[in-house]
Symmetry: C2
Subunit: 378 residues, 2 copies
């Protein structure tokens, strides 16, 4: 796996340098912290998978680093803007082992930083006109326009499921949502814009779409599997965070679907509850303790207020433990691994048929990435 890691490290450096080139000069001017905050998430050391896909595709099809680096950086900007807004939407407290941006700087500033990143993403794509020529630049702009539309549509579907506590979702609908929300902007589009910058043919773009569609879904499922089982040091996200959040995953949908009616009702009731806000609770516990010890509050009153302040219907640790056991005892992990494995297999055979992509370190990176995801399904 070393060569994949090396490629990702190199891609992260190319992309990080490009983001510094694009935005650090602005930070010198009197514009508050905006540009520092824009560079916050991208410099927390993510996987740089999207830049690696864009670079490998461009270089693999005969393009140069400088043809794609600004576009690759732009995709990373979109990705991090979506992460900042996702973290607010999901009530996440951490991102890459540090406090989420809205926890450190408040929701208002964090919303605006995300908006700034979405807005600033246009300029490097316009600069493509002089860099790689009008035709490829306009094709990339059109592709990115499609990408952002599809992504927010996918996000809208998921957020409405959350808002309405919808769990009656077949795998087909779930996978269609994941494809819109994740596969397009994380897999298909990075490779397509790389190929466009290198002047690849439309037939190649279609194959990359099929490859990215399967690989993206396989990646999402294995990522969700890891969230349920990985050790913190291996993974860098909250363990079981998806269960606290009530995120729709292939495993959880399978477990809810195959549970007996009582368990299903209990699962849906738990999943409809919010996630407790740890910080607010510590604060209010101290106040209640003080009032109880001074005799201003009875034990019964204390219990009732503690429930209220914890968010009344917030999930408890026991709730999440029960969900975890439901998922593991229903065989849902094996089921999800099989689906992911089949999708990764489809991606592997699609890639092997893209004969117009010659053997190179760049093609090799894509093959390694498929192997890495297949490995994660085991």
């Amino acid at each position: 796996m070393t060569s994949l890691d090396d490629y990702l490290t190199w891609s992260g450096e190319v992309c990080g340098n490009e983001l510094q080139r694009l935005f650090s000069p602005h930070a010198l001017q009197a514009r508050g912290q905006l540009y520092d905050l824009i560079l916050d998430y991208p410099t927390r050391g993510g996987k740089a998978m999207r830049p690696a896909l864009a670079l490998s595709s461009c270089l693999g099809f005969g393009g140069r680093v400088e043809d794609i680096a600004p576009t690759a950086a732009t995709l990373e900007l979109y990705h991090n803007a979506f992460l900042i807004h996702d973290d607010i939407e999901d009530g996440s407290l951490f991102r890459r082992n540090e406090p989420a941006l809205h926890i450190e700087h408040g929701v208002p500033v964090a919303i605006n930083v995300g908006d700034a990143m979405l807005s600033l993403a246009l300029q490097p794509l316009l600069d493509n006109v002089s860099r790689i020529g009008l035709g490829p630049a306009l094709r990339i702009l059109q592709t990115v326009s499609d990408m952002t539309r599809i992504t927010v549509e996918g996000q809208a579907i998921e957020l409405e499921w959350v808002r309405d506590n919808t769990w009656d979702i077949g795998d087909e609908h779930y996978l269609a949502m994941v494809e819109r929300k994740t596969s397009w902007y994380s897999f298909i589009i990075p490779m397509q814009v790389g190929a466009m910058a290198a002047g690849a043919a439309p037939s190649t773009l279609e194959r990359l779409e099929r490859f990215g569609r399967s690989l993206g879904a396989a990646f999402q499922i294995t990522d969700d599997l890891l969230n349920l089982r990985a050790e913190p040091e291996d993974y860098g996200k909250e363990i079981g965070g998806d269960l606290w959040e009530g995120k729709r995953t292939l495993m959880l949908l399978h477990a809810v679907r195959t549970a007996n009616p009582d368990d299903r009702a209990r699962a849906i009731a738990i999943l409809g509850r919010s996630r407790p806000d740890g910080r607010a609770q510590m604060d209010s516990d101290a106040l209640l303790d003080r009032l109880a010890s001074s005799g201003d509050l009875s034990p019964a009153g204390r219990a009732e207020l503690a429930d209220y302040l914890a968010g009344a219907a917030a999930k408890t640790r026991a709730d999440v433990q029960w969900l975890f056991e439901l998922v593991t005892s229903a065989g849902s992990l094996d089921y999800a691994r099989q689906v992911a494995n089949a999708l990764a297999g489809d991606a592997a055979s699609t890639l092997s048929a893209i004969s117009e992509l010659p053997a190179s370190t760049h093609r090799h990176m894509l093959e390694d990435l498929v192997d890495f995801i297949v490995e994660r399904t085991k």
Copy 2:
């Protein structure tokens, strides 16, 4: 004022039809509510000032309605995306006499709807290539890219002032923030893209920039003055909402600056407090009443918990009344009217010097708009 009203009504119809053309077909497909929610704020009957500026500039310089309608609709889309996110950032409960989008559908859905509108704004600008030709289309794309960057920079400056409870702000810095946050996207850019679509010369674009800069600042100040004094039926926003929110306005900055040290310290302390969340408070009051009447909670404990649940340091009605009296007694309203009047006068003389814009209903609309804003300064 009838001809201005008529022009705004017509512009609103042109823009509304264009937004329906662009987005209502998507709403028919199985994509949840996203496209209905995108059309929510734009169909609540705003003033349509930005479309009117874009249309009047394009038609006044010899262009056609169809050359600018999609771009005008796009600017309205940006405007409404910023409003949705502003309403979350400011904790506003209402927008145009109806509940704010995040109140009706929750913060997660509302953030994503705003993101969707920012993302979808790119497509009509790309369609400009086939509609008005490559040169004007690319110039408009570049102008909109600059616009969104400047707008989020202005918003970032204001949000940092709010976060840090900064009130030591000179008029020059305040006006520079307003220019970035409001004048560019609400005045300068609508007229510039209209002129670009009609093929106007660069020298004209510069004059429009100066005109929009002064007019935008005058408009913002008079809008803030109205927030302090207008009757609800005349205005459609929360009265005194700016004081509850702690919004930096020319009046409030003047009042804080000229107050004696004790009043200044008191004002800054009040302004650092949050705005109470009316809905949460009703809920918790009922619980505390019940516990107090059952003897589980002492009167002293009830008072302390009520403070805590109201947000501990949230502003009270008496606080806001005191701020209102500070502003009115300090002569800050007259001061702000004078500044706005001078800015509107500068706008009027700049417009009168734009001799390349021939007399027409379109030029007349701009003159009427200046008169309308001068009128509001009285």
